[in-house]
């Protein structure tokens, strides 16, 4: 079964170019989200390759589990950590890059050289094997539940352990009892009583009295000026706060100054 069909050849060349570009993107993209997307691309290409090579089940699993679940996990974590954390590509360990690149290149050459020199047998193709159980899935299942039964069981144990491990790792025991709302309130009033600048009523929710109730829309203060304090610091840091068009209210010129002063105060409150 020497060469592949033309369809597969086409798929391969297109797919391989895309996946190599994706891999390069993964390595060199500054933003992590971009990197993640690049990886998704690579994985999808690989899923096609799997299917093209007769591993239909794996191809589906690659898409569903890998690209779907695992990559989503990555994105979730990315979100938790903060989308804003960007990776600078400046090297900090002395000599790391200068050593890494030649080593990796050497490794790649060796690997490719090995493949090139290896006496690889003619490709048999998976059709016969797939046909044995009446289809790829069935044939895999036959193997999984017979020869690889033990490995299968053990891998399930690994999964459970890892799930437990993840919970244990991310769980945080409270060192002090959680404060009740009442206690928080009392504390806030005490601080206010000492003369600190505390907003007794709590910070305003975003979007209140504004044109829109999205999170990136600041709330409006009673005087109609937007409260910067009502918007998440991340959004503010990224400068993605929805622009505010002050409504034509009476005395709008004096309010501009008020907005600025209130805004400063709000910033302080948030940072506390």
């Amino acid at each position: 079964m020497g060469n592949t069909g033309h369809g597969e050849t086409f798929l391969f060349w297109v797919g391989s170019i895309i996946s190599i570009l994706g891999a390069l993107g993964l390595i060199f993209s500054k933003k992590i989200v971009h990197a993640a997307l690049c990886l998704c691309t690579v994985m999808l290409c690989l899923a096609f390759f799997y299917m093209a090579q007769g591993a239909v089940f794996l191809g589906v699993v690659q898409i569903v589990v890998y690209t779907g679940a695992v990559m989503m996990l990555f994105l979730f974590v990315l979100m938790l950590i903060g989308i804003e954390s960007q990776d600078s590509l400046v090297e900090t360990i002395r000599g790391q890059r200068w050593l890494a690149v030649p080593f990796v290149l050497a490794f790649g050459f060796v690997l490719i050289g090995v493949y090139a020199h290896a006496n690889l047998p003619e490709f048999v193709g998976t059709d016969a094997a797939n046909a044995k159980g009446g289809g790829n899935v069935q044939s895999l299942a036959l193997l999984l539940f017979s020869r690889y039964f033990w490995a299968f069981e053990v891998s399930s144990a690994v999964l459970i352990t890892s799930a437990t491990g993840a919970m244990v790792l991310t769980h945080r025991e409270r060192t002090v009892p959680r404060k009740s709302q009442r206690e928080i309130s009392i504390e806030r009033f005490e601080r206010w009583g000492k003369g600190e600048k505390v907003s007794l009523t709590g910070l305003p929710n975003p979007g209140v009295y504004a044109q829109h109730n999205a999170v990136d829309t600041p709330a409006l203060l009673p005087d109609g000026s937007p409260s910067e304090a009502s918007v998440n610091a991340t959004l503010r840091g990224r400068d993605t706060v929805r622009g505010f068009r002050p409504l034509p209210l009476p005395g709008a010129r004096r309010n501009g100054a008020a907005v600025a002063s209130r805004g400063d105060a709000g910033n302080e409150e948030v940072s506390q």
Binding site: N3, T4, T9, S16, S19, I20, A23, L26, I27, I32, A35, A36, L39, V42, L46, F49, Y50, Q53, G54, A55, F57, L58, V61, Y66, V70, F74, V77, L80, I81, S85, D87, E91, T92, I93, Q96, V101, V104, G108, L111, I112, Y115, L120, P121, F123, V124, G125, T126, A129, N130, S139, L140, L143, Y148, S155, V158, L159, S162, A166, L169, T170
Partner: protein, 99 residues
């Protein structure tokens, strides 16, 4: 086309993944590069499965995915807990375990 090309592709992807692990500092990117390496290996497995006409390679690839999933779960959990304490996801910042 000779199906050997799949193997060359897997070698290239693996090498790129390794390069990423070595030069990126963000833990998540490093992690993703590892995933890339695993995937490259999987591709080789699947290709070999095709070469030999046996499904064992696919089974191994399947197990690789399982283990990769488990690894991702634990690894990400570790990243999170490191981030909580150190406010950083850079692998270079977690260097207390040294001489």
């Amino acid at each position: 086309m000779n199906p050997d090309n799949y193997l060359y592709l897997s070698a290239i992807l693996f090498t790129l993944g390794a390069l990423g692990v070595l030069i990126r500092r963000n833990a998540i990117v490093v992690f993703m590069c590892i995933e890339l390496m695993l995937n490259a290996a999987n591709l080789a497995f699947v290709t070999f499965s095709r070469m030999h006409g046996a499904l064992d390679g696919q089974v191994i690839a399947f197990f690789t995915m399982v283990v990769a999933a488990a690894e991702v779960v634990v690894g990400l959990a570790i990243i999170i807990s490191v981030f909580r304490t150190r406010r950083s996801a850079s692998v270079d910042d977690a260097n207390l375990l040294k001489y």
